[in-house]
């Protein structure tokens, strides 16, 4: 549905060259929620702005439903943009218009008949839960309510795609969650493909199906959110995951374990979905005569899937440990050895 092929965007400030996006290739499928995460200045905004050509890529191609945007003339590009809604960190509403008029903006732009506008705007007010606010001005709304108005406005032209540039970054955690729930609802109910960028892993974990991690203008890692969580490849990705659950054992504890008579081995076991709740530790004891002790446990929800992490210390003969872990891997649990301190 959305394809970026080797997209680069370079800015020149005086004679300084800023490569905001370097060689980004990614594909967003119809109906999914695709997240892009990265630190400030990583190039996320530039990347998402390339999708509707607010920023023209210096190199590479952007295509929507197979149509290369670079080949469109002004009117065609505007028509395409109407199929792509966009919301922003700062909401970007017209301060001189009421909530109703703000939401109706995309319809006014193409001279939609008045009756149709009223019908559509009321429907959207309902969807975002702001029925009572239709004749109020943005200045009288809270941040969360302003973002709801912005979402309703973005949906007024019945887009297939919704781009969200840090849509929740100006909001408190509770409001963030309510906006994310709304985005999820829109995605499911209206089957709108969503691309969102954020610097918060929490946002990715809560609603995204797939994620791309950006660093210094490059997409360094991408894939299903579950895979990225259970098996991150790049240090920056691990850092982001650590920001919501820290699965590293404290150094003093590792030292203490090491000084034990039989330090055994330390493993991290990841459970995904149906495997959560299986009695694996008991099986290590009964089938392999191993002695597992639990050092850390965590269970969390990644969008629709439950994801558990367990760190255990196992003592027993080397062969038994090997066999035991092989058995767990056969059960499709992800096993990782954590080296002792030192």
């Amino acid at each position: 549905m959305i394809r970026l092929d080797n997209v680069s965007k370079t800015f020149y400030q005086g004679n300084k060259k800023i490569e905001a996006v370097k060689n980004a290739t990614l594909q967003v499928n119809k109906g999914e929620i695709f997240g892009v995460i990265g630190f400030s200045g990583a190039g996320k905004s530039t990347l998402i702005r390339c999708i509707n050509f607010l920023e023209r890529p210096t190199e590479g191609t952007v295509s929507i439903n197979g149509v290369n945007l670079a080949g469109l003339n002004g009117a065609q590009l505007r028509a395409t943009r109407r199929r792509i809604g966009m919301i922003f960190q700062n909401f970007n509403l017209l301060s001189s218009d009421t909530v109703f008029d703000n939401i109706a903006t995309p319809l006014y732009l193409v001279n939609t008949p008045k009756k149709e506008i009223v019908r559509k705007v009321r429907e959207l007010l309902n969807l975002v839960g702001l029925q009572e606010k239709e004749s109020v001005y943005p200045a009288q709304l809270s941040g969360g309510q302003k973002q709801r108005v912005a979402i309703a406005r973005a949906l007024a032209s019945d887009p297939e795609i919704l781009l969200c540039d840090e849509a929740t970054s100006a909001l408190d955690p509770q409001t963030t969650d309510s906006i994310l729930d709304l985005l999820l609802e829109i995605n499911k109910k209206l089957n709108i493909t969503i691309v969102l960028i954020t610097h918060e892993m929490h946002v990715i974990k809560k609603i995204c199906d797939r994620v791309a991690v950006m660093e210094n203008g490059e997409v360094v890692e991408q894939g299903k959110v579950l895979d990225i969580f259970s098996n991150p490849q790049k240090p920056i990705t691990r850092n982001f995951i650590k920001s919501i659950f820290d699965v590293n054992l404290p150094e003093p504890l590792l030292k203490k374990l090491e000084s034990q008579q039989d330090p055994g081995k330390i493993f991290r076991i990841s459970f995904i979905g149906d495997h959560v709740g299986e009695p694996v530790l008991a099986e290590l004891v009964t089938k392999f005569s191993l002695h597992p002790s639990i050092l850390y446990g965590n269970i969390t929800q990644i969008k629709d899937t439950t994801f558990g992490t367990l760190i255990i210390q196992v003592t027993g003969s080397d062969e038994a440990i090997k066999a035991g872990m092989a058995y767990l891997e056969e059960r499709e649990l992800r096993i990782e050895v954590i080296p002792h301190a030192g």
Binding site: N52, L54, L77, R78, A79, T80, R81, R82, I84, G85, M86, F88, N90, N92, L93, L94, S95, S96, D97, T105, P106, Y108, L109, Y137, P138, A139, A150, R153, S157, L163
Partner: protein, 224 residues
């Protein structure tokens, strides 16, 4: 003493009436024309900037320089310097007609600058949101720039109008009359302090009125 002051209205009342009318006509026409021209060039000065919706370095730079040149001339000099142009446009360089042309040449660039600074305050994010919605440039100018900047535009026009009232006081030089002319001819040259006082009071009142009106409208338009 106050009674003596009021006595002079018997003699000068009609003169004041006519002077007010002349000032009103000069300022009214010059303001209307200058606003149209100033607003147009104000918009051009904003949208042709490098990072705006219709970037054009040449247009921007040329306009910028012309406005700076016009803005650096004091009104009294400008009025005399452009006499040939005034004659060519309205057929005469004296009287009210002859004063309106230099008043416009003086005020329009000023208003253009005032409109420019008002329009520059419009949130770039909103413009971007409109681009993302597929708005045309014309729609962005009318529906975002001019609309969002309305309170600031009104305040700018207020300042421009007050400047214009000030300049119009010098129009007596080309025989256009007005309050300033009465103040000079009667108050100063014929040494009638009561006339000078009245002219000053009338000018102060006019400026107060314009400023209050402008502030009031701007406040009503501001929705925050």
């Amino acid at each position: 003493m106050l009674a003596k002051y009021f006595d002079h209205f018997g003699e000068f009342g009609d003169l004041y009436g006519q002077a007010l009318r002349e000032t009103g006509i000069m300022v009214g026409y010059a303001l209307a024309i200058s606003t149209v021209i100033g607003l147009f060039f104000g918009v051009v000065l904003v949208v042709t900037r490098r990072d705006h919706i219709l970037p054009n370095v040449v247009v921007y730079q040329v306009l910028n320089v012309i406005i700076n040149i016009l803005r650096s001339l004091p009104f009294i000099i400008l009025m005399v310097a452009i006499i040939p142009i005034t004659k060519w446009i309205v057929g005469t360089s004296i009287g009210i007609k002859g004063a309106i042309v230099p008043l416009v040449v003086y005020t329009a660039p000023y208003i253009a600058r005032l409109m420019e600074s008002a329009l520059l305050e419009v949130d770039r994010g909103v413009i971007e949101a409109f681009q993302a919605m597929g708005a045309t440039r014309t729609q962005i100018i009318t529906r975002v720039l001019l609309k969002e900047a309305r309170p600031a535009l009104i305040l700018g026009l207020t300042i421009g109008t007050i400047g214009l009232i000030g300049a119009s006081a010098m129009a007596g030089v080309v025989g256009a009359g007005g309050l300033g002319d009465v103040a000079i001819r009667y108050g100063y040259q014929r040494w009638k302090p009561e006339v000078m006082v009245t002219c000053v009071i009338l000018l102060v009142l006019a400026v107060q009125l314009v400023q209050s009106l402008g502030t009031w409208i701007a406040k009503r338009l501001r929705k925050r």
